[in-house]
């Protein structure tokens, strides 16, 4: 089962510069584990030590934000297209308060 994954510039150091890679899995976490096996270290940029989705990235399945699809448990199927984008956020607020405000 092949799922296409679009990788942003900042994470291409893990994919040998590739913008698009392929992976497999029935859920997002299975896909991420599969990708990490081929592109060591990628998982740590997507998932926190506590096992949640990292707030620094947005991950989409086709046209939908995975946060609305069950996050790491989001179901995937052959032919799905995954897009990873670095979250664009910031501001004058302190980091801890900003992170809490994002509620991720």
């Amino acid at each position: 089962m092949a799922i296409e994954v679009r990788v942003p510039t900042i994470l291409r150091s893990y994919t040998g510069g590739a913008k698009i890679v392929e992976g497999a899995g029935d859920t997002l976490i299975e896909l991420i584990d599969d990708l990490d096996a081929k592109h060591n270290g990628l998982k740590g940029r997507l998932i926190t030590a506590e096992g949640g989705l990292h707030r620094f990235v947005n991950i989409y399945v086709n046209d939908e934000d995975v946060r609305f699809l069950g996050a790491l448990d989001a179901k995937l199927k052959d032919g799905d297209s995954i897009t990873i984008l670095p979250a664009v956020a910031g501001g004058a607020l302190g980091f801890a308060a900003a992170a809490a405000l994002m509620g991720k």
Binding site: P8, T9, I10, F56, V57, N58, Y60, D63, D65, R67, T83, L85, P86, A87, V88, A89, G90, G91, A92, L93, G94, F95, A97, A98, L101, M102
Partner: protein, 152 residues
């Protein structure tokens, strides 16, 4: 970005059209006292910001900004289709100086972008500064505002 990839700008300078700066300042003033945010797209590798895209601040906050995730996807796909990249990512600080906060540095995820900050804390003048933020390291650069490199 290596020196060989810089066409529109020499290293350490953001060259940007006055019409785009005016539009960014107008957007920042319009959203004040909330922070405003957006992008200026340009051809990949050109380092020339050409297309101003004001974005919604999904946080609608005076001290925080966040792109709406669906608008973010739509705009990034559009750039992809047009062989563009985000040459400039801008936001405003509405009560503090135009310098990246620790939050800005933590989130900065586009190593090829110029991070432009506008401070609107003074009612009748703006502070406009630009930075590279790569791996947590902030490097300020000159902002060179020019006339008519972009068709209005």
């Amino acid at each position: 970005m290596g020196p060989g990839k810089s066409h529109g700008n020499v290293n350490g300078v953001l060259t940007i059209d006055r019409a785009i700066i005016d539009a960014i300042v107008a957007h920042s003033r319009r959203d004040h006292p909330d922070e405003a945010c957006g992008v200026v797209a340009g051809a990949i590798g050109s380092d020339v910001p050409r297309r101003h895209i004001p974005m919604d601040n999904a946080a609608r906050s005076m001290t925080f900004y966040e792109f709406d995730s669906m608008e973010h996807l739509r705009v990034w796909r559009e750039m992809d289709d047009l062989d563009e990249e985000p040459v400039v990512i801008y936001h405003s600080h509405t009560a503090t100086e135009a310098y990246p906060s620790r939050t800005d540095i933590s989130f900065a995820g586009e190593p090829n972008a110029h991070y432009l900050l506008v401070s609107t804390r003074e009612p009748d003048s703006e502070e406009i500064r630009s930075f590279r933020i790569v791996d947590g390291v902030v490097t300020e650069e000159e902002v060179n505002i020019v006339d008519a490199t972009v068709k209005a």
